[in-house]
């Protein structure tokens, strides 16, 4: 049962007030300006980084202020290293425990189409 600090409410609140909202800082590919083919669009829609280590995640204070915010969470220990408002720069970088490449390239991600 996690304790999560909502950066808007500025309080630690129990996990039941929040809902998980997937990977943070995943820019929409349209923003890059280049048209995407079907295959790569599907990768953007369906693929996530799935980091073992500190990951940037989106959370929603669903039963509280309803704001979406970001958290840096260690996915192994569930330690919440930091939480910060949408639009803010992450105070801690992502890091994979086993030292894998952190960049997520949806155009070349492995796995079935």
């Amino acid at each position: 049962m996690l304790l999560i600090r909502c950066p808007y409410c500025e309080q630690e609140r129990p996990e039941v007030e929040f809902s998980f909202a997937h990977q943070a800082h995943k820019p929409r590919p349209e923003a890059a300006g280049e048209p995407l083919d079907d295959h790569n669009w599907a990768r953007w829609v369906y693929y996530q980084k799935n980091i073992k280590g500190v990951a940037h995640e989106r959370w929603n204070h669903a039963a509280g202020c309803r704001k979406f915010f970001n958290a840096a969470r260690d996915t192994v220990s569930s330690e919440i290293v930091a939480t910060y408002k949408s639009g803010e720069t992450p105070p801690v970088p992502e890091s994979r425990i086993e030292g894998e490449d952190l960049s997520f390239d949806y155009e070349n991600a492995e796995g079935g189409a």
Binding site: M1, L2, L3, E15, S19, A21, R28, E30, D38, W41, A42, V45, Y46, R58, N60, A62, R66, K67, F68, D74, S77, S78, E79, I80, S86, G87
Partner: protein, 1033 residues
Amino acid sequence: MSQDFRLPAGGRIDRSERLNFTFDGQTFTGYRGDTVASALLANGVHLVGRSFKYHRPRGIVTAGVEEPNALIDCNITAQEKGTREANNRATFTELRHGLTTKSVNAFPNLNFDIGEINSLMARFIPAGFYYKSLLVSTGMWHRVVEPVIRRAAGLGVTDEVADVSRYDGHYLHADIVIVGAGPTGLQAARVAAKSGARVVLVEQDTECGGSLLRDPVEIDGMDADLWVATVEAELAAAPNVRVLTRTTLSGIFDHNMLTALERVTDHLDVQDAADDHRPRMRWHRVRAKQVVLATGSFERPLVFRNNDLPGIMFAGAVETYLQRYGVKTGNTGLFLVNNDMALSAAIKAKDAGIDVTVVDVRSESTGPNTERLMAMGVPFLTNHTLVEAKGGKRVKAAVVAPMNGDGTAISGEMRTIECDFIGSSSGYNPIVHLHCQSGAKLDFDPTTACFVPGAPMGATPTISAGGCKGLFSLNDALASGASAAQEAMDALGLQAAEATVVSASEEAHPGSLHIRHLWLLPTDKPTSKGGKFWVDFQNDVTAADLQLAVRENFRSVEHIKRYTTLGMATDQGKTSNINALGILSDVLGVTIPDIGTTTFRPPYTPTTFGAIAGREPGDFLDVARVTPMHDWHAEHGALFEDVGQWKRAWYYPKAGENMHAAVDRECRAVRESVGILDASTLGKIIVKGPDAAEFLNRVYTNKWMKLGVGRCRYGLMLGEDGMIMDDGVSSRVAEDEFLMTTTTGGAANVLSHLEDYLQTEWTDLKVYLTSVTEQWAVASLNGPKARALLSELCDDVDLSPESFKFMEWKEATVAGIPARIFRISFTGDLAFEINVPADKGMALWTALMTAGAKYGITPYGTEAMHVLRAEKGFIIVGQDTDGSLNPHDMDMSWIIGKDKDDFIGKRSLTRKDMSDPMRKQYVGILTDDPKEVLPEGAQLVNVADAPASAAPKSPVPMQGHVSSSYWSSAAGRSIALGIVKGGIAAGTRVVVLLVVGCGAFDCAGYRQGRYRAERRNADCAYAGWSERQSNPH
């Protein structure tokens, strides 16, 4: 029966209070302060149960929560029913007046159990026997094997009467939680208390003291009793400290969320417990900043042939029964040890006048305890093994022999020593359960041959101290208790007052064990021959089972555990796991740390379900949302259906009606006169702001910019993946305000979805969202008489079809209540949805019912609503769609605004796969037999693949499934909706098939007041409905 084995004096029992109890029908007495186990032993009863698989006679082996054998069924209070609880550990069940206890798994009785024949059959029920039994034919398994296994195996029987006890839940917040109030925990609490931190000390036993309760040494020059009392008084005087005894800390979850079970009345005499006003148990949920674990250690037994005979116990348990309960385990004892510490039990036994022999498996035994025993004249055999124990329902003798140097074989004459109990010790296991539950790892300490806590887990830190850290000397334990408290205070930034330094008399607790690892004692025959070497008593797992599993090529300890069921019983292997790892390491030829341990999971000891449910069983288990008209529905006999947390009226059966008849009647009323539905549960969201129209335009697939004030429009909402997420009608309330409706179950998700885009993608849009689901009550009038009825109650709005058109809404006064009337329809019939403030909902409903009486107004529930909409082919998101269906699949391409710049899901919809004509598509389905109502969820197959005349030989390709299916009184036959591969184009691919739109009831839309012709009304396949397509508006 008299207490023949009770010592004349000593122990912590209150001899002035005699307690009567029964065991398997026989009456016994014990004293206040006894456990059921100690009272039975005082009466000379060792045989207390039959084992799980072989029905072996079993006795008490421990004096604590780790007990694997002595499971009893007992009554909790004096009430007649609903108070029996199975599988209580007799060693942890406090004796009280009026307790009736029973052994478990014995048939017909404990002394004569026909299941014991399983022992003779043992070679046919080896490790993995259960899995191997699955290799017989299915019929054989169901008819013969399973019933036999179910009858023979198992432990206590659950009481089938509902538990009458009350339970409570409690939240606690603490700076430092200390688990265990033995010397370590008491010392930690004493130090922590002085810092002013909020301290909670949790102890599962009836009183504080831990190991001091059985071994009253001197601490700080005073008796242990006095020392404990002094510390307790200090803690009681500190306002920042709370001590919870009879409380088991059962689980550690993320971020130090702890659960603790407090037994409030279980120690009371059963009549007092029945009368007590308090809850039976409290389930504490504790949020702790720091956790100090001082949980101590468990002794483990040595493994030898027939080591499960009643009378064979752990050495420490013998000592506890002597010292704490004043009970002799027997008159002639043999102690079998591999370490120094366990020898203190032999000393205590000799002091109590028991004939004692010591068999020490070590080649040399030179510690102070050994010297003392020798000085007492106790026969002391070193470098000896116990070849086998002899006896039936009680141990009678032990066969011992000298061993060779490496302890692998016997090397001399065997001889028999008579005894009526054996106390055995193979060392100690720190109780690392909570440490491991926190996610932290273990290290193996070869000098003490046990796992000790490794580095703590970052997000859920715990600090171990004392015995559970592998510190077996009392002075080390006391010091580590103080330093653990200091560490916790440092982490909290708290200053400590100077810690009181304490020390104990050293000789009683040598600390170093000088242990010799011998996991399986050498004997004269292989483990598979002769009597068994028991490792897990509760699940009847033997050394031979483990060896067999390895021969059958199981390597991972997690696999061996599941294959042999080792450590999977209610004691979770507390006494067996390390011995099993030792035996496996010998067979596999790898070290114990390389094998690793299995996972420690909460709860630490079995927990009563009632306590976890607390005050929220039954109706309180989940929130029930009810509409303002709920009481009316209930009074008029409605049955309810759960939709999310909502209770929705399902149908309203009249006397003698079954569901079918009631739904049929309700449907007919809507088609022929007027029906009324409570639609208050639909999600309602106000979308307000200068950019409200633009916002809707982006979240729905169709166009919204030009919708006029006072108009309504149906919208379909997609996810980013292009799949249908929700639908509903939104109405323009003002230039800058819309009222959006969502499905009942999807309301919360839709609001989050909208907030997400608003907050993170479209921060430039000026829009606010407000949920008003519970602010409005909605009564929906449906049917040809709806207008006539409504016009009787509403005179400030012209309801004629010319001035109040389909898909419009107006402010009005209905029955004197300010209302919003929406001309929208989910039944295909003329409909008015009347919205009033929630607190006026009941008034509106009763006014409509009264005025509607002359029209035969009929309340209808969700079932009729489903039938009526299915007659129209309208989808229900979540029933007909499943997150893998897009608008094309549902034959709703018409709702996609082709020339819109963007909307959520637009890019995904353009993917080639999304318009593949062979996707599963939404169709209407008619059965050949009009009376047959297909089950929802039925699989659809091609006739060619599965002709009705022959049973299909192999799996038949699935073409789709039925998502909605009903009897339609309007059609006079069954109707169904579902998805079929390529269904829209194919027409005849499946057994029976009807394309939505072409066969739907009133497909031209006349009845609901839609004047323009439906684009697909050309070939109505179902003639039976076409004659009803008159225009009734």
